[in-house]
Symmetry: D2
Amino acid sequence: MRIVVIGAGILGASTAFHLARSGAAVVVVDHAHAGRATAAGAGIICPWVADAPEPDFYRLYAAGAAYYPTLLAALGEAETGYRHTGALCVSDSSDALDAIEALARRRAAAAPAAGEIRRLSPAEARRRFPPLRSDFAAVQITGGARVDGRRLAAALLRAAEAAGAECRPGLASLSLHPGGAPLVWLDGEALAADAVVVTAGAWAPALLRPLGLALAIAPQRGQIVHLHLPGAATGEWPVILPPGSHYLLAFDDSRVVVGATRETGAGFDHRLTAGGMAEVLAEALRVAPGLADATLAETRIGFRPIAADGLPMLGGAPGVPGLFIGNGLGPSGLTIGPYAGALLAALALGETPALPLDRFAPLRDVTPQRSAALR
Amino acid sequence: MRIVVIGAGILGASTAFHLARSGAAVVVVDHAHAGRATAAGAGIICPWVADAPEPDFYRLYAAGAAYYPTLLAALGEAETGYRHTGALCVSDSSDALDAIEALARRRAAAAPAAGEIRRLSPAEARRRFPPLRSDFAAVQITGGARVDGRRLAAALLRAAEAAGAECRPGLASLSLHPGGAPLVWLDGEALAADAVVVTAGAWAPALLRPLGLALAIAPQRGQIVHLHLPGAATGEWPVILPPGSHYLLAFDDSRVVVGATRETGAGFDHRLTAGGMAEVLAEALRVAPGLADATLAETRIGFRPIAADGLPMLGGAPGVPGLFIGNGLGPSGLTIGPYAGALLAALALGETPALPLDRFAPLRDVTPQRSAALR
Amino acid sequence: MRIVVIGAGILGASTAFHLARSGAAVVVVDHAHAGRATAAGAGIICPWVADAPEPDFYRLYAAGAAYYPTLLAALGEAETGYRHTGALCVSDSSDALDAIEALARRRAAAAPAAGEIRRLSPAEARRRFPPLRSDFAAVQITGGARVDGRRLAAALLRAAEAAGAECRPGLASLSLHPGGAPLVWLDGEALAADAVVVTAGAWAPALLRPLGLALAIAPQRGQIVHLHLPGAATGEWPVILPPGSHYLLAFDDSRVVVGATRETGAGFDHRLTAGGMAEVLAEALRVAPGLADATLAETRIGFRPIAADGLPMLGGAPGVPGLFIGNGLGPSGLTIGPYAGALLAALALGETPALPLDRFAPLRDVTPQRSAALR
Amino acid sequence: MRIVVIGAGILGASTAFHLARSGAAVVVVDHAHAGRATAAGAGIICPWVADAPEPDFYRLYAAGAAYYPTLLAALGEAETGYRHTGALCVSDSSDALDAIEALARRRAAAAPAAGEIRRLSPAEARRRFPPLRSDFAAVQITGGARVDGRRLAAALLRAAEAAGAECRPGLASLSLHPGGAPLVWLDGEALAADAVVVTAGAWAPALLRPLGLALAIAPQRGQIVHLHLPGAATGEWPVILPPGSHYLLAFDDSRVVVGATRETGAGFDHRLTAGGMAEVLAEALRVAPGLADATLAETRIGFRPIAADGLPMLGGAPGVPGLFIGNGLGPSGLTIGPYAGALLAALALGETPALPLDRFAPLRDVTPQRSAALR
């Protein structure tokens, strides 16, 4: 069976990996668009405290986190950028922490991957993350982890290639066979395939439009800042989750990543803005004033693909047999992506995915009925 | 009449400007792809010494240069990045210079824009371009000029907007109306139009493929280096054309631009390579050893759209009424682009263009029958 | 008469220019230290509203501004980066503006260079500086101006060279002749001189220490951000002075400069910090929320030389005949520097400076007796 | 015993480490000058094939390489940037390789650290370093290694601090006590010390000049290029030594370092030049054409301190009791530096160094009597 995957972010790379491991002949086509969400993203894996009221979505989110050990074992290599550091939800309000703790305990009871839930005093919290504000106590979720999107996607692609997949750089187009099946064009050549999986993130709507498909996905810009703390042994520092959508996250090399804006309506405007930078830094310093003297080392811009209802898109395209779509993971892409790739691979192979995906139909009506606040 | 132009490089910007000035309701859609040829290019305007054996092409090329004064007058503003500095063809072979001089005189006789043709001694040549090799004499073409692609395209767009055009950032898609006319999709919206002009450069084939059109255009990568010579008053330095396809070119701010590689088969690989940099610098220092101590200030990468036969594409798309295509200007885009935009605008408005365009049919057979060496 | 000037920031460059114009044989030695204050600084020329309670200092400050037309006429070239745009003191408090207006009117009465003082409504203020907060009214000082430190210092050096001065890059040292005169060492060579002028900014204390001189100057770090507003015609935008020490300032090329931190105790730590960037951006957006979508284009770090009492140092070094010191201009260096260079040149030539300099003795006791808040 | 070390490059860091381990109270003062040789350098450890005709120098050079295992054991940590990969001397001339092999065998007989000497066919050489030219055979020196100067110096400083040393950033000055001993000034404070070690590289002459000492050291500029080969597992690639002074060297992260220019007379001019870049790239591609498509990832500039006779300076300063000088390691600094630091530490502690240092007297006559060509 021959399958073309368009887009090699975290979702496409995982899809390709799972397909190649199942014996399919896989071609991955990717254009390396500037601003790919996976390349900018700092991956926090801690769904158990997320504001995710939609049960189907939470189930997928939690399954994504639970899938990591399986995935890492299958990859069998160190260079994934994954690190199991635990996460701290921090606040100066013990009421707020009580609520988070209750939520975390309830969910952790059904999710062994969440590990243990503990309450930390401000001093205990600062011992783990020294720049933290001195009056912030914490709820610790020992199962929390972080992952570097660039390195994990690269590891998945290497593993896919090792299993026989072919990677082709370039800008793909789609048209329809007279029979109604999708046809992938690359550099003037038609790539024959039994199935096509489109995991092209924010660039997917333009790709699918000529097939008559209106994918209701828009780019949500994220501006992310990397700070350098020369000499700090940041390797074991936990993920920090303050109230709201901002976060702090260490990388191994004396680096703390602070993010991120969630800007809609900016289109594909690949710029660092005064307002975005001010927002990200102000929030980071409010939570961790000890970062004030850190060096501004790098900034990243990413366009997260997101639907108006905040829910993923995973499934076949109605009316186009052989076409499968994965999209809309938004800010939760690095948690859900690897697992969603396994689900998409199953779909493309004609198998039944391990989780029902009806709620995530790609061409559903996404008119928002609630304020979607997903991590 | 409502017309959508897709792509706002030099060709699209000029098309939009001419359309808007004619009273059309113009929408320009542009995605600001990294590596746009216009943004990287250093524009040399000197077709009269180019290796351009195809008469139809030379006619277009020369007409492009001759059109500049008209265009600048219509723009009526200083910020175009254009400067009339003259050009020097340089060599240590008097035979080679004799041949260039003869060609230049023959062509200049029919092209007032070429100005005067003069022979310069090595000392005279160096007086005009001090870093030049001391044993290089020159043929001076006083009508030669240079232009900064970024600034000229921006000036054209500003003028188009002033005349009522609307600029919309975003990634467009094309599909066909049931009646066969092209339909432009942007952010989930269909833009109604009487005509669509696609000037999307190297990104056009993927855009047109879903309409069933196979545009035989490929990206030709150019790597370009900007050198800084602190304190040098480079404003009046002429364009330098050594034998071959490399060139040197001053910008006003003590800057010399040296270029460029012409790499095919690299796709949209947006990287500075060791080989490309070595080639560009070695050739620049061979011609102008006085640049050895200049500072490496900036590097640019551009993807010139080029057909296998080296000729432009300008015309309607057969079978798709209302669709017009401009492409394939390759390394001569900044000379031809402004004029070709005027021709495309005429086509889209249903007028007869000032120059016959049969030779430049967009979907012609481009199988190369000669070695295309165009400047 | 042969004079060596060590340090070619704005003060050294001006000293060299005035000396060379007077016929002295001038050698300028400069090491191009990273973080030179002149290269980072955005020069605001508007002393008439500054918090400068010390009369001697205000007299020097105002004389610096008044000297600009004379200086520009003597330079006789356009490339100085100077632009007479006026300045706006902005606030939402009419009481605060009343106080500023009163101060400005009182000082302007004695300072023709200050131009006119006008009260602007919020709408009038925004017309002049569109990103300004809509509830900020302004006091306009029409004599206010801005200057680009890099370009002005370069213009002064070019003019000094044209008048015969010699510029030598390198790291100078000082020792004492047996007779007690200073001796400049450069690359193993002793530079003979009748006088030595040390204008080495924050690097001067280490240079002078071996002579037994304890210059009480410390570096005050400034972090400055340049924002880009594509398409904005910023050339005529006035300088914006909110209450406090921050400021906004346009450059011609669609750029707004926002600054700056005033950090003491950071030594020569040449880094952009999270805290510094957050402070500068937050203050800029508080005053001019219209900048939120501007692009972060560039950042600069400078080490302003400053004494603990906030006053300049201009004069001879006691006990070392032939040694003159200029330093401590702090944040007012681009206003005072050109004029102070003329004063230092007079001192070095044995003439009486146009202004008494007793208050600015370089080796005075600088123990602070008041809070120095100088612009 | 209290000792001040000025300069924290590889030599100063090693001196401080050895002093602190011996129980001395050490203060390291460092200004982090831009262009420090240690930070730019790519360290090749392979003295056994170097053109080092002076026996005293070769003895020191070889002892430096032999000392590495001892040093690494003493440091006891992984983050030193050291990797034992072997080195290949490459050439297409079997005569040239014969000569190198003979030299290497002769020296290796007396130097166990050199490991084994083997002749490799072009195919064997390319297997170890895939981008190598296909007609280059090699002499392999299995004891060759590489080291990252930045990381090793940082590791030495961390270890020195762990042993009690104090690191103070800032710009030091030197003067003489009335009794003749050296006095270190920092930020207006005199640092009392029993001994002062000056390891300030190219910046040392200006520092020592005020004491009446004329250190005949000049900066030799090196321009170095880092290439990135995405996906290449470069960790085990050997050091490549073609004839001449250029070299190629892998870092672990898919990176190949190519260097370096050896430019005298450029002073402290911290710029990447067209000529330097052209030279480094041309030589790299001549030796390893497989690098042509590698990405230009980073460039570094360093100022190696070097004497006219090419020999190090290690010893006390005559006439200034308590002052010790280490300098002039030139391009061999990363091989010799760690060991030379141990020797300097012994001197400063009043002990007899393990190697006689008479030939390396800091203030000797360095008038060149031979062409110094040291690696």
